[in-house]
Symmetry: C2
């Protein structure tokens, strides 16, 4: 089998472990020199392929590639750039094939969520139509945990571990302070469409009265009176109340909590997220002193607290993507399969992209407790293995060590292309 | 020497390592059974002494006490309750002595910041006047790092490590996204009066252009135009800008940024902290897409990422407090002394409370760079050793293991007392 080059790109919001997948892809490619010559990475994701800004990954040392496994963020740059409709913007897709052809790229590894699975599929279909031999594999990644078929999405387990741990730690803080000070703590977490991450906060407590006392999911219409009654009940019973709220919390009519028509004097939408909005309601309705935190990027960048399970799965899907490509499987995605629950065992299977693209996996209703404010034992059973194990990065001078790739650019061979 | 009891209480905002000091105090007391009989802890701090709600620490197992070393929050409860002026509210102080007398408490260990050092001193002075033999030792603790004499305050090093690490990790996130998405990331940190914690964010980067690009200190009057010019410059030069802002950021006239006169339709002060306020300015003045995070309790509860140096110092001052008491030193505070810088070596000395109480240590002006947006090499040299070393807690089922003390209450012997 002849040697050709491979292309790898990161897409969408990055995670604590997307570089672990990159590490898996690159290391597996390096182990197959009889098939794969060089690995090129798209600078800033798929945009790098369109603009022919390719990073020569073969110039990076084995140590740098190994260090990707414990480096958060997207080492080659990612992008929020969805290729336009193939019928109206065919030129974009054709450009990709042109760049691939110019650099002898026959393997396309696209590391992202649902949108990129769709792009990956379309690129694969077009290359076939154009008679260009390309093997396109999607490498799953999303903190939102909403990819279908795969039991979980690499990236989610580490956010889940971070949120569960942070909820536990902050709960001990407020529990110590509540006698004379803060009574309500609100932690805002990611997940605009699904409550997976908020649900992970629920892992912090198990027994009766253990925080978090209230979880607010995007799946459950926000009822201010019901929430405030629950908060008040917690403060009266336990002395304090810990709330984990999804950024996607919304009213019955779909309006987001953070966008409830509040505008400043200039008519601009009011600043601030769900946490301060909710904290303000607590103050207004119940008069309790509050604190609130918004984890934002911290939660998905917290490689220092990654789930070992998640790191291993992210790395494994990267390696499996290469194995699939070398086995001639096209338009596929490696997926995690849960084999047994206790002990938790998993392996990597594969799924056709046609079954992955444009499908979203929502949280089952029976994962949310009847009152809408907690997780059920079924949810706990699903989530618990995903945060198992630690995989601390090496530290130097008190800080995590991260990969510092050279990002050497490959010489361009084609005319400029305007996005 | 006869046996008497000891009293330990936690005061003010808790930290990731205040329980490590508790562990030091309690373990050292247990090693001196010839002098110290039982250790009682104040439930919710000094309030527990006033209301005679004493926790019988001798009922806790050695394992539970050892586990305090890796448990964040305040295991016995803390409080924000400053004893009133001794001249006008002498009854409160007399009540403390009364409770101590009723329970044969001759050792008073008070674990807190500047205010509690002052209280500790006053209690000591009054007991002397009243002829009650009490040895009062203050155990230093504050994330604000503003205690005098001690080289650093136990609790600060762990927050510093958390903020430096989080800044580093989130910076890698935004660096990956900035080509097509977020250009500015704002991280709000604690420190209403001093910029020590904000300064710690500066440890994340060293070389030219490494984030954070802008640190906003309470010590430097906020100049919107100057800040926005710096942010814009960073985005143009590096593609993005990371800002670490202290919650205490303020204008020349002392007004806090977050309180800049913004009120909602009901005339309530606008919700939200400094981070969203600053992010809003970025959007308004520069038009850049932003993300912001508010770490709040997460930063001071993050025992999972504690500085080993900080844990060791917190534990050491706890033990040393007992040693001082047993040596008959009264009205003292153990303090950290920096012996050498490289390698970093420290020991514990002691300081009279009269020199500690009501003194605040501010950040030296030469720790802030000339333009006011960064830290100087002198600051870096001071801060660097404080975040050295990791001291990960044990984990079980993916979550940190924490102490679960029984908190058995000692039988009351006195009439009720109203606060």
């Amino acid at each position: 089998m002849a040697q050709h080059n491979a292309f790898y790109a990161q897409s969408g919001g990055v995670t604590a472990v997307i570089n672990a997948s990159a590490c898996g892809v690159i290391e597996a490619c390096r182990e197959a020199p009889e098939h794969i010559n060089k690995v090129y990475a798209g600078r800033n994701g798929i945009i790098g392929a369109l603009t022919e800004e390719l990073i020569d990954v073969s110039a990076e040392s084995d140590e740098t590639i190994a260090a990707l496994r414990h480096t958060p963020g997207g080492a080659f740059g990612s992008c929020r750039y969805k290729l336009k409709d193939i019928d109206t913007h065919r030129a974009q897709y054709e450009r990709l094939i042109e760049v691939f052809r110019a650099h002898d790229i026959r393997y396309f590894f696209y590391n992202g969520g649902g949108d990129s699975a769709d792009t990956c599929l379309k690129v694969s279909q077009l290359s076939e139509k154009m008679g260009y031999p390309l093997t396109a594999i999607h490498v799953p990644k999303t903190v939102d945990n909403d990819l279908p078929i795969t039991d979980c999405s690499p990236g989610f387990g580490s956010v889940a571990k971070y949120i569960a741990t942070s909820t536990l730690e902050a709960s001990l803080d407020i529990a110590s302070m509540c006698a004379t000070s803060t009574k309500v703590f609100v932690l805002e977490v990611m997940g605009r469409h699904a409550g997976w991450i908020a649900a992970a906060g629920g892992l912090a407590g198990q027994g009766e009265g253990e925080p978090p006392h209230v979880i607010i999911f995007p799946e459950v219409a926000f009822d201010r009176d019901a929430v405030m009654a629950k908060v008040d009940e917690s403060v009266r019973k336990y002395g304090y109340c810990v709330i984990v709220v999804s950024e996607g919390a919304r009213y019955e009519d779909g309006t987001f909590l953070a966008d409830a028509g509040n505008t400043d004097a200039f008519g601009h939408r009011q600043l601030g997220g769900v946490a301060p909005t909710l904290a303000g309601m607590v103050k207004q309705d119940l008069g309790y002193k509050y604190h609130w935190a918004v984890a934002d990027y911290l939660q998905r960048a917290a490689r220092h607290l990654a789930s070992r399970t998640d790191v291993e799965q992210a790395y494994a899907v990267g390696r499996e993507a290469v194995a699939l490509a070398l086995a001639g499987k096209n338009s596929m995605m490696p997926a995690i399969r849960r084999i047994t629950q206790a002990p938790y065992q998993w392996d990597v299977i594969s799924a056709p992209l046609s079954e992955v693209a444009n499908q979203e996996k929502f949280m089952p209703r029976d994962f949310i407790s009847e009152d809408g404010f907690g997780i059920t034992p079924a949810c706990r059973e699903y989530l618990a293995p995903l945060i198992q194990g630690e995989d601390f990065p090496p530290f130097k001078n008190g800080l995590p060590v991260v990969a510092k790739p050279e990002l050497k650019q490959v010489e361009k061979r084609l005319p400029e292309f305007t996005l």
